[in-house]
Amino acid sequence: MGLKSNLHNLKEKYKGTKMAPAFNALHTFLYLPNDTTHNGTHIKAADDLKRTMNTVIMAMIPCLIFGMFNAGYQHFSALGTPVDFLSWDAFYIGLIKILPLVVVSYGVGLGIEFIFATIKNHEVEEGYLVTGMLVPLIVPIDIPLWMLAVAVTFGVVIGKEVFGGTGMNILNPALTIRAFLFFAYPTWMSGDKVWIHGAVERTKEIAAGANIDAISGETILGSLAQGHHIDYSISDMFFGFIPGSVGETSTFLIILGALFLIFTKIGSWRIMLSAVVGALTMGLIFNGVVSSGWITETSKFYTLMSTEFWHHLIIGGFAFGVVFMATDPVTASQTNKGKWIYGFLIGFLSIMIRVFNPAYPEGVMLAILLMNVFAPTIDHYIIKGNVKKRMKRLKVKTA
């Protein structure tokens, strides 16, 4: 007997009991369901929710693997014993640090989904599949696992389940989880230590009296906000050989993922494009402010404001957020015109928050969450405007 028939038997055995949804979910996740519809006309399409989710995950896998290499690479570079980027040493560090993040994220998140499905007696929804992969990619590598578990619990229950589960949430669950971590445990989510594996431990050892050099692990945005200048080259920033959250550093791989999402028609190119335009607009405004001399070099905004406008696209989490999180079909605007406005404001606001609030260098998280809240309002007015236009046309015709 194969796994499939085993699962099928289990499913039959528990039919009608409280545990039925859990077994159903396992069965349909791995195999085609045995029962098909019998009568009536049905639209047949291969891209159900599960397939959509898997496509997004596939687009993120390169970022994850790159993140594993980068974790080790940054670790050894900071220690002063650099290793080759594509080496087993580098990958091993990443693997043993990042795999637990993925396991905790999926374990806790899916666990909650199963519990809710069992209590509420509905099918387990696949909504967590993407969130579970996003979460490990957007946290610092050294985040304690229990904090991640608490945040995932909060994000899934308060961010999603109370609204009615997958498809009903107002806020992007992955970003809710990150925002929770950010406000609850700021020492683990920002500053110059958490972004490189080992830096926090090193600091503790030094505090305990060990005679070793401290590791500094600042992100580019972090050091710019401090007014320091950075010594990473453009290609380092573009290909992602820089410290940062696990999976967001490589703009190159994110663009590949974006192309894949656009090609499969899962991610909205309108949102991505308009967000980039929005970010460039804000960047240009800031550059203009600097070049027209309205702001002195002693101002605390000077370094960030004078950053070349297009550099904003390749540093920090902007690219990752715009491609994988702003395009979340549940929380984004639904209308095409709305998507332009929604995307543009995300780009515009991210750069604004980045520059004006150095305490929150990751403006893109807050910008997307804010626009998630406004997306239904944007849609409402777009639709209302459309109705008005059509009514007018109707009146002209009948008159």
């Binding site: 304690p144 109370v162 609850a184």
Partner: protein
């Protein structure tokens, strides 16, 4: 004879659960969000509101037949304002530090919707003894939620209860902190108070189906 008749007991117990001013009527939310970061502040706030509401209810109830209905709101405001000023002065005299923590929120008891709500809905139509019980009951319902929210926010946000370090010392790394536990800074921010109140409402309504509104 029992101290309170069955009807009178209901006046006190009803607002505690099934007709709670915060979780069911959703009144008095602002102070519940603002001052519940510490348990002590929540308790003092609850007691202050209880004093103002109980005495105010009695005063309004005694005057209910002579207040012209056109100016009743102003009369009610004067009564609340007078009582709040007394409470504020008492707090300043006997526990200055705490009155600093509560800052404007003692003064803002005047605008607490529960108080005007009870005056309008109950004291204007009932006798002094009943109004007194109603005031105590509603303030207790309000206080109950404040204390629950304050308990969780102080425990998870600062790791203390009433100032005692119940989870160990975060700097010396004793107790839970030795295991790597850290305080949740989000608990100290107001949004988390709203979420805690929301969870209380969720638990309450899922235990009592009758409270779920149709839509």
């Amino acid at each position: 004879m029992a101290l309170l008749s069955k009807k009178d007991t209901k006046l006190i117990t009803d607002p505690l659960l099934d007709n709670n001013p915060i979780t069911i009527q959703v009144l008095g939310i602002c102070s519940a969000l603002a001052i519940t970061a510490q348990l002590k502040a929540s308790i003092v706030m609850a007691l202050s509101v209880m004093a103002v509401l109980a005495i105010g209810n009695v005063v309004i109830s005694l005057m209910r037949n002579i207040i012209p209905s056109k100016i009743r709101i102003i009369v009610q405001l004067v009564v609340v304002a007078a009582l709040v000023i007394i409470v504020d002065q008492v707090l300043k005299a006997f526990s200055y530090e705490l009155s600093k923590t509560l800052s404007v929120f003692v003064g803002l008891i005047i605008t607490n919707c529960i108080i005007m709500g009870r005056f309008e809905a109950f004291a204007l139509a009932n006798g002094p003894w009943k109004s007194f019980l109603d005031g105590i009951g509603n303030a207790a319902g309000y206080g109950l939620i404040l204390v629950i929210v304050g308990f969780f926010r102080e425990l998870l946000g600062s790791g203390t209860l009433l100032g005692f370090k119940v989870l160990g010392d975060p700097i010396e790394k004793t107790g839970l902190y030795a295991l790597g536990y850290e305080n949740n800074g989000f608990m100290l921010l107001s949004p988390m108070a709203l979420i805690v109140v929301g969870i209380i409402i969720w638990v309450q309504r899922s235990r009592n189906e009758a409270l779920i509104e149709d839509h």
